[in-house]
């Protein structure tokens, strides 16, 4: 019945395993494919009972499949339910599938009315199984990623809503008070109070915008540190000083224990102060009236440890793992009690990590206060030379003044700046006038110009000491101005120190401006003290050398 020639070709050519048995399940055909992959040659197999050679078929209940075939039924063996029919190796074997993965079909061999045996066809599906596994895993991963992206998106939406709210709150106060003050004449005390409120809200708003920009720099990896040797004690004092009013307003007592041996770390003094300021402000925000905050600086092994504890609201165990995440606040509902963007702690963590340190939050739970611990490694070597300015700051710090900000009064500075010639270029009349009035009180001679052309003429004719220019202007902008100024050459005033004053405060704007020829970049709105500082250092009237990185 079986054609010998056909059988031989099936034996040699088939890309599947083929077993033919008689009605007693004795092997008649064991093809070449099986010889290569199993441990048995056809010569060993032919004439032997399949279930005798592979007793595990019986153990696994697969003898029933053969009995069904002998009863005339076709049986399928899917890979997923059986993994394999016979243990074999595969050329596609891998670490995840060391054995050949198989699917198989067992069918009766029928002659006339009688079942005379069985035929089994085996496929090697190892490669397919692996591919399917990968695909399923990939799709699951993609699904998870999408879910995460959706969550992140929602968090950002909530954040945007918070930002708008937070920006509007100080604006309301500012615009309200401006309207009140405009209405009629008030006594000076009332006006001073209004101006104070406006000023305070401007500061709040500036802080919000700075936080957003910091986060943007963190995200784009463009936040950089101006590293020097820093004594943490004075930095902490300065940070505490700047939150004193806020603490006093809530009747919160801040105690401090600063270990002088904590020594110095290597870092960016402005950024480290920002870290402490953020932690302490956070503590004030979440501590009720009359509460207490404790700040400790100590030495732990080779690290300086700053510990800020409060007896306030505390952090729930569920939220604790997320406190340092961007855009996260424990309560993001619109009715939440605490203002703020939820960026402060994210910035803290990033800054601390940039300093090679760690920050850690702990809380016994809600209502039980919270403790934040920052650890920053000590500097191995002290920076050898200090500029006189830094030395002065260090002295000043001991008395509680700030590190970066100069604390000179207009009267002190006026003596130094008196007679200085300053050229201001800005297309906005209000901006020109404001700077003229503000700087005029320091005895600076100010001339203003609304265009680049006019500015160049004034520069040559009047020979100012310092140039301050806006960047975004119609026709020719601040870049065009500085290029044309620098092209004038030394004799015609082309070397004049120049400050770019702009609303563009991203890092790349700054480096472009510095590359174009400005010595310094300040972002609007600029604080008077900072501007005066900049003018003093650029004009050479300050004691120290100028520092081009202050923003």
């Amino acid at each position: 019945m079986l054609n010998e020639a056909a059988l031989r070709w099936m034996n040699d050519l088939s890309a599947q395993g083929i077993i033919i048995t008689d009605a007693e399940l004795k092997v008649l055909v064991w093809n070449h494919w099986l010889e290569v992959r199993s441990t048995h040659l056809a010569a060993d197999m032919i004439g032997r009972g399949l279930l005798d050679v592979y007793p595990e078929l019986v153990e696994r209940g697969l003898d029933k499949y053969y009995k069904d075939a002998l009863a005339g039924q076709v049986r399928m063996l899917s890979h997923r339910l059986h993994i394999y029919l016979l243990p074999m190796s595969s050329p596609e074997a891998s670490t995840s599938y060391p054995l050949m993965q198989q699917s198989a079909r067992i069918a009766p061999l029928i002659e006339g009315d009688r079942v005379i045996g069985t035929i089994t066809v085996i496929d090697d599906v190892t490669e397919r199984a692996e591919y399917e596994d990968q695909l399923v895993r990939l799709l699951a991963r993609e699904r998870n990623a999408r879910k995460e992206a959706e969550t992140a998106n929602r968090t950002k939406d909530e954040f945007l809503a918070t930002v708008s709210h937070e920006l509007r709150t100080p604006l309301n106060a500012i615009s309200g008070w401006v309207q009140i003050l405009r209405k009629k004449e008030f006594d000076p005390a009332f006006i001073a109070n209004g101006l104070e409120i406006i000023e305070r809200n401007v500061k709040i708003q500036v802080k919000i915008i700075e936080d957003i920009l910091d986060v943007s720099r963190i995200v784009t990896g463009k936040l950089s540190l101006n590293v020097t040797t820093v004594d943490l004690g004075p930095i902490i004092e300065a940070a505490l000083e700047s939150v004193r009013l806020a603490a006093d307003a809530k009747g919160i007592k801040i105690s401090r224990t600063l270990d002088a041996r904590a020594g110095s770390v290597s870092g960016d003094p402005g950024r480290l102060q920002q870290v402490i300021w953020n932690l302490v402000s956070n503590a004030i925000k979440f501590t009720p009236k009359g509460g207490a905050i404790d700040v400790r600086l100590s030495r732990v092994d080779s690290q300086a440890e700053i510990r800020v504890s409060d007896n306030g609201k505390g952090i729930s165990p569920e939220f604790l793992p997320y406190v340092f995440e961007r855009f996260r606040q424990a309560d993001s509902t619109s009715a939440r009690q605490h203002s703020g963007l939820g960026l402060g702690l994210a910035i803290v963590r990033h800054l601390v990590e940039m300093h090679g340190g760690t920050v850690h939050a702990s809380s016994e739970g809600e209502g039980k206060g919270a403790t934040f611990i920052v650890r920053i490694p000590f500097t191995a070597v002290r920076v050898m030379k200090e500029s006189s300015r830094q030395a002065e700051q260090r002295k000043g710090n001991a008395e509680g003044s700030q590190v970066i900000e100069r604390d000179g009064s207009p009267a002190d500075d006026a003596a130094q700046l008196s007679g200085l010639r300053l050229l201001i270029v800005d297309d906005e009349p209000d901006a020109r006038e404001m700077l003229q009035v503000m700087l005029g009180q320091y005895g600076i001679q100010v001339k203003t110009s609304a265009s680049v052309q006019e500015a160049l003429e004034l520069l040559e004719r009047w020979k100012p000491d310092v140039l301050i220019s806006d960047v975004g202007m119609p026709n020719e902008d601040g870049y065009a101005l500085i290029l044309r100024v620098r092209a004038l050459g030394h004799d015609r005033g082309g070397n004049i120190p120049a400050i770019a004053l702009t609303g563009y405060s991203r890092l790349e704007d700054r480096s472009q401006l510095l590359a174009a020829g400005y010595q310094m970049h300040l972002s609007k709105p600029v604080e008077l003290a900072r501007l005066v500082n900049a003018i003093m250092s650029l004009s050479g009237r300050a004691e120290g050398e100028y520092y081009s990185s202050v923003e």
């Binding site: 039924q73 076709v74 997923r80 339910l81 895993r137």
Partner: protein
């Protein structure tokens, strides 16, 4: 053509035997307890199948199709809607990651499940009714109910009937419902009903009364 109550009871009992064998095989194979609900049997002309089942199988469906020949000749099919088929294979294979579609391995599993169920039913007919049936290789198709029913009617001039057996696979707290359809010529159906009645009579003689489910 209609089945009387007695015929219907007997047919239901036979299919019940096949279903419990299938459930036992699947439970053993997967290590999960698989239950097949007590089936509900109806009989319709094949041409009415679309109208009768469209509500249950509105879109693409997965079918395992096995032709049988012998004393009885016809088509046996397991019909599941696509989502049900995906779910059933996922539940049976216990993979850590569930697939959202019927990949080749899942189609194999489905073919095997259909094969077990269809063989069990036809096998019970063969053994109990003492009729001879030969089985073809089961094939899996993904298509709509309309095109499937068309393929059952095409080239077959004689009027055909379908035994439609509604059932549900229950495992791991889930339930997947589907249909077992056995399409037969009038001649085969007549023969089946005769054999069922004969079997019923034999049961009565052995037990001295009618069995209940």
């Amino acid at each position: 053509m209609q089945l009387n109550e007695r015929q219907k009871d007997a047919l239901t009992e036979l299919i019940n035997i096949a279903f419990s064998r299938t459930a036992a095989s699947l439970s053993e194979l997967t290590g999960h307890r698989v239950v097949l609900d007590v089936p509900n049997v109806e009989i319709y002309p094949v041409s009415e199948l679309t109208a009768r089942l469209a509500g249950f199988l509105p879109a693409e469906l997965a079918s395992v199709h096995q032709v049988f020949t012998g004393t009885l000749t016809g088509d046996a099919l397991l019909l599941l809607n696509y989502e049900g088929a995906v779910m059933l294979t996922n539940l049976l294979t216990d993979d850590a990651l569930f697939s959202q579609r019927l990949n080749e391995s899942a189609r194999e599993v489905l073919t095997e499940v259909g094969n077990i169920l269809l063989n069990a039913c036809l096998g019970v007919f063969g053994n109990m009714l003492e009729v001879r049936v030969s089985f073809s290789v089961p094939r899996l198709h993904l298509e709509t109910l309309g095109s499937l029913v068309k393929s059952l009617i095409i080239d077959k001039e004689e009027l055909r009937y379908a035994l439609v057996i509604y059932t549900a696979f229950r495992l791991r707290d889930s339930s997947i419902s589907g249909f077992l359809v056995i399409a037969l010529s009038v001649v085969s159906l007549d023969r089946l009903i005769q054999e069922i009645e004969a079997w019923e009579d034999r049961q009565g003689e052995y037990d001295g009364g009618k069995q209940s489910n």
